[in-house]
């Protein structure tokens, strides 16, 4: 277990031990289609409840957030403790652009997503320029998160302060109906999954793996580590911004808690750690598991946080690579025992 944390850049927390780059396209598409098909049936299981549907949509939003965080942290090892803030740039940005400035919804979403992308890229650029290690990157992004939180509270005219505000744009469209938002977010989630999968197979993905394994060796092999780190941040931040802005517009209301550190970042980290940092389907496993768990335990109120705390400790002590890689190793060992006489 101690070997998991020995990387000098702190990035060997990450799994990604599966062989993948040589697999063909169907091997990527088939699981995604299966997952998509299964998730597409969910509205039929949930019946008529608007509340449950809302939970499901939020769950998919978190799938998107976790994939975005996975690209940044699992892909390039940068500890971005500003997932909620970047999604919030998307969410609040789109809200203000659509309601206050009067832009069409699609344009608002695109511009807000762009803003989030640039912000993520900027944070990464600054971090690599100053050669900040994992810890300081985490602290700087945390500072951005907290500042964003404070800014939201301070600019209460625009953001509604503590209580939040309603989003008028999109009120009479399919965005506010019960079922369509689910499929919209599902579409996003599957698109992100596909993007991440293709990324891993591309030369960018190869560069990511190289710089995670051994930064110095990667530089010597010609990988511009700084550049690829920023690429990772740009892609991940774009996902976060897009998910945040789309989600906000389907919800119809937005408040600091929608994208707050304690509400988003903490949960996203637990979800990803559980599912498997750096894996492709880890985000799905983690996000769905915890959305269900959270909903089941909803009557326990604050006590859930106690459960998350215990989980964080247990996860990072015994399953630092997450559920998928751990199950994968167990499965391999079982296969090894069984197939020992070849």
């Amino acid at each position: 277990m101690s070997g998991r944390f020995t990387g000098s850049t702190g990035t060997s927390l990450i799994g990604g031990t599966e062989a993948h780059s040589s697999r063909s396209l169907p091997a990527l598409l088939v699981p995604i289609i299966v997952v998509g098909a299964v998730l597409a049936l969910v509205p039929f299981w949930l019946g008529d409840s608007r509340v449950l549907m809302g939970v499901a949509v939020l769950g998919l939003a978190f799938v998107c957030y976790v994939i975005g965080f996975n690209v940044i942290f699992g892909g390039t090892g940068q500890l971005f403790l500003c997932v909620g803030a970047l999604a919030g740039v998307g969410g609040f940005g789109a809200t203000i652009l659509a309601d206050n400035v009067g832009l069409p919804i699609v344009a608002s979403i695109l511009i807000a997503t762009l803003a989030a992308t640039l912000m993520g890229g900027l944070l990464s650029y600054v971090a690599v320029q100053r050669s900040l290690g994992v810890i300081f990157t985490g602290i700087v992004t945390l500072i951005f998160s907290l500042s964003f939180d404070a800014l939201l509270l301070g600019l209460s005219n625009l953001t509604g302060g503590d209580t939040g505000r309603l989003i008028k744009s999109g009120t009479d469209t399919f965005l506010r109906e019960r079922i369509p938002p689910y499929y919209l977010m599902l579409g996003l989630a599957l698109a992100f999954l596909l993007t991440h999968g293709l990324l891993r197979r591309s030369h960018i993905g190869w560069a990511f793996r190289a710089l995670r394994d051994d930064e110095v060796a990667a530089e010597l092999a010609g990988v511009d580590v700084a550049r690829y780190r920023v690429y990772g941040a740009l892609i991940g931040a774009a996902m976060l911004g897009l998910a945040g802005s789309t989600y906000a517009l389907t919800e119809g209301r937005i408040s600091p808690t929608t994208f707050g550190f304690g509400h988003v970042d903490v949960v996203v980290m637990v979800m990803l750690a559980f599912g498997g940092i750096g894996t492709l389907f880890g985000p799905i496993v983690g996000a769905i598991t915890f959305t269900i768990v959270d909903e089941v335990l909803i009557d326990f109120g604050q006590l859930r946080q106690v459960a998350y705390g215990i989980l964080v400790i247990v996860l990072f002590l015994w399953m630092p690579r997450g559920l998928i890689p751990t199950l994968d190793s167990v499965w391999r060992r079982v296969r090894g025992l069984v197939g020992a006489r070849h």
Binding site: I143, F144, L303, Q305, I313
Partner: protein, 285 residues
């Protein structure tokens, strides 16, 4: 303006003492304790609960300080054991994650069990004039206690052999081991000490404003900001940064607004990390 500066110094002394505890843990053990604020809040709650049960103020405060110290000891004996097996950045990262988990547990439990509880040690009596500014007695008592504690810390580290031994571990761990000093023992001591300091800051803070079960995260964040600006591992830096940032906080809150002043503090920490990561008084590696 003078009123703001004096208020800022009062706040700053507390920031400084708070950060001192956190920075000592980092300097000695290479460990970041993100559960620091929760230790403070839990101690405050224990004081409040004891007083509710009829315990007089002073013994109740004593209980709180004791609780803080015990907390630190508990952390050392349990959660931090696996952290000690690692070195360097991996150690900081794991300590960060595990103590974060601990902070969730405590935050969740306290808010669930005692949602509206707060500690409020109001010190009665009229205001006293300092430099022409009427200062509340609570602020003055809190500052006096903080100053005495800081002085005590200085004396401890400079003039006692135990204090010197602890400093030597911060300076060069191998060197300390070679002269018979056990770094693990020293770290345990520092964890207990920092727990007591956290409790003390919570108690003195409650003389100025109530400390409730939701304060945990903000205490940790402020401690972290001041620690980073002062230089990780540097106690004098933490105190200096504390006072400066305390003054900045109060003055900015008055002139611009409390949210913006928080952003200013955060920006100060960010700028420090970017320009001079070693902090105000840190030694460049």
């Amino acid at each position: 303006m003078i009123a703001n500066i004096l208020d800022g110094i009062v706040l700053g002394l507390q920031f400084g003492l708070l950060a001192a505890g956190l920075t000592l843990i980092y300097g000695l053990g290479g460990v970041l304790n993100l559960g620091y604020g929760q230790i403070a809040v839990t101690s405050a709650m224990i004081v409040a609960l004891s007083m509710d049960a009829g315990v007089p103020v002073v013994p109740a405060v004593g209980l709180g300080l004791l609780a803080g110290g015990l907390f630190g000891l508990l952390l050392d004996l349990t959660i931090l054991r696996p952290v000690y097996r690692l070195r360097g950045e991996a150690r900081v990262l794991l300590s960060l994650l595990l103590t974060l988990g601990v902070s969730f547990i405590i935050d969740g439990y306290l808010n669930w069990r005692y949602p509206l509880k707060a500690l409020n040690l109001y010190i009665g009596g009229g205001a006293i004039d300092i430099l022409g500014v009427p200062m509340r007695r609570g602020s003055l008592v809190a500052s006096a206690i903080t100053l005495v504690t800081i002085t005590g810390l200085f004396i401890f580290f400079r003039s006692t052999s135990l204090g010197r031994a602890i400093r030597s571990v911060i300076e060069d761990e191998s060197g300390a081991r070679l002269i018979g000093i056990d770094p693990k023992q020293m770290l345990r001591l520092i964890l207990v000490l920092s727990g007591v300091l956290a409790a003390l800051v919570a108690v003195t803070r409650s003389m100025i404003a109530p400390v409730d079960t939701t304060s945990g995260l903000s205490i940790t964040v402020f401690a972290l900001i001041v620690t980073v600006v002062g230089g990780l591992g540097n106690v004098v830096g933490a105190l200096l940064a504390g006072i400066i940032l305390g003054i900045v906080n109060v003055v900015a809150a008055d002139l611009i607004g409390s949210y913006i002043s928080l952003i200013l503090l955060l920006a100060a920490a960010a700028v420090t990390i970017l320009i001079r990561p070693a902090g105000l008084l840190g030694v460049k590696e």
